[in-house]
Subunit: 238 residues, 2 copies
C-alpha cells in the first residue's frame, strides 16, 4: 500500500506523540564596552533545572509557527522578532523521557538595537559559552547557528540582526559574531553594495573611539528575506 487512505492518514500503528516548538532566538550583543560583540541566545530556566530554549506544546487553536511566536513572546515582544523561520524537526524517538515528543524548531533573530532586558528566569547567553542545556537543546542551538551562517552567505538575512542604520564596521562585527571568524569590512561593503543588499543612507554616524571622520551610515535595502545572488541565467523572464 503506497499511501494511507486519505480518511485516516495516521491510523496505522501510531504511538502516542506530543509536539512541541523550540526556538533559538539570537541577538548580537556587546557584553562589555571594550570587547567585540558576540552572538547570544535566549534561554530560560526554572529553579534548579537546566536551561531551556523558549517553547512549549503546540496550541490547540494555532499552527506551530504561531505557537512558537507565543512562547517567545513571554520574553521578547513579537514586534522585536525581525525574522523567524523553521529549522529541522527533531524526532528521535528517545530525545525525551516519557511520552514521545517531536520538536518543531525555529530560528528567530532580534536586531542588535532592540533593548536586551528580559523578565526574571530568562537570560541571554553567549552561544560560545553556553550553560548546561536540557535534552537536545544545545544541538538545536548549533543547528540554528549553522543555518544562520549558511544564510549569511547567500541571502540578506543580516537585516534581522543589524540596527536600522549602521556604519559598515558595525555590520562587519555582526557578521563576525554570527560566523565565528573575522570578515574584511571593505570586501563586505563591496559585495553587499554590488548586490544591492545594503545602500548608503546619505547620513553619517558618530566618530568612533579611534577618532577620524564620522563614518557613513548604511541600511539594508529589504526587510524581507531574499536570496541575493540567483544565477543570472536562472532569473524568470520579465
Amino acid at each position: 500500500m503506497p499511501t494511507p487512505p486519505p480518511s485516516s492518514p495516521a491510523a496505522a500503528g501510531t504511538s502516542d506523540v506530543e509536539v512541541e516548538t523550540l526556538t533559538a532566538v539570537f541577538q548580537v550583543q556587546e557584553m562589555t564596552a571594550d570587547t567585540d560583540p558576540v552572538l547570544c541566545v535566549l534561554l530560560g530556566h526554572d529553579t534548579d533545572g537546566p536551561w531551556t530554549l523558549p517553547g512549549g506544546a503546540v496550541a490547540a487553536d494555532a499552527t506551530l509557527e504561531t505557537s512558537a511566536r507565543r512562547a517567545v513572546a513571554d520574553s521578547v515582544a513579537i514586534a522585536n522578532i525581525a525574522h523567524l523561520e523553521q529549522l529541522a524537526v527533531f524526532s528521535d524517538p528517545h530525545r525525551l523521557p516519557g511520552t514521545r515528543t517531536i520538536a518543531s524548531t525555529y530560528l528567530a533573530l532580534v536586531p542588535s538595537d532592540v533593548p536586551t532586558e528580559l523578565p526574571h528566569a530568562s537570560a541571554w547567553h553567549p552561544v560560545d559559552a553556553l550553560p548546561t542545556l536540557a535534552f537536545d537543546h544545545a544541538e538545536i542551538v548549533e543547528a540554528a547557528r549553522h543555518r544562520l551562517a549558511a544564510k549569511l552567505s547567500y541571502t540578506n538575512i543580516a537585516f534581522a540582526l543589524a540596527p536600522s542604520r549602521f556604519p559598515m564596521s558595525q555590520l562587519s562585527e555582526i557578521y563576525c559574531a554570527a560566523l565565528g571568524y573575522a570578515v574584511d569590512t571593505t570586501n563586505l561593503l563591496r559585495i553587499l553594495s554590488r548586490r544591492a543588499v545594503v545602500v548608503a543612507t546619505g547620513t553619517v554616524g558618530k566618530t568612533g573611539r579611534s577618532g577620524g571622520r564620522p563614518p557613513a551610515l548604511y541600511a539594508f535595502a529589504d526587510k524581507q528575506l531574499r536570496v541575493t545572488d540567483e544565477f543570472a541565467t536562472l532569473r524568470p523572464p520579465m
Copy 2:
C-alpha cells in the same frame, strides 16, 4: 513562565495530535519522444479516493526522516533517492478532519536516468497538470517545487535530477522543467563551470536529432548538496 519545566515539555493544554510524513518525490521525465521533458511528482491512490503524496504515520521506532524514506520506498527504491530534505511542517489545526494531524513534509529527488516503472496504485504526474489531490497535498507539491527552484539558483541540487553524465543541452532541459521557463545552455555552462559545479568528463555522447558533432558529456563534481556561491569574504579562514 517563559519555558515549560524540562520534565514535562508538552504538558500544558495539549490536545491529541498525530504526526505524519508526506513527501513530494520529483523526477524530470520525457512524456513523449518529441516533447520537452517535464517535472513529475509521485502520487498514489486507493480506489476512488483522491491522489495523495506518499507518506504515513511516524513510525514508533524511527525518526520522521526514516519514516518518510520508508513510505517512499513502497514505490521508489531508497537507493534511487539522490537527495531528500525537510520542507516546512504543515500544522493548520483544521488541515484534516478528525484528530489533529501535523505533517512533516519532505522534498525527494530522483535522477532522470532511473527507470520510471511504479507498482500498481502509484503513478508519476506532471506537476503542471495535477489531478485532484487530497487535503493540502497540492500546496505541499507547490512548496516543494518552490524550494527546488530556489535551491537551483544557489546550490548544486540539480545533481539529484540529472543522469550521471549528460550533454549540457540535456541539463538545460532539466533546469527548464524544474524552473518552468527556458534557460540559456551556453550561460548555464559558463556559470556552472566557473563555480566548479559541473566538470567535463572528456567523453562524448550520441549525436542529437539535429545532427552535427557528438556533444561533450559533463558530470556534477559533487553528489552532496552544497552552496555554490558563498561570498568570498565569508569563507572561514583555512
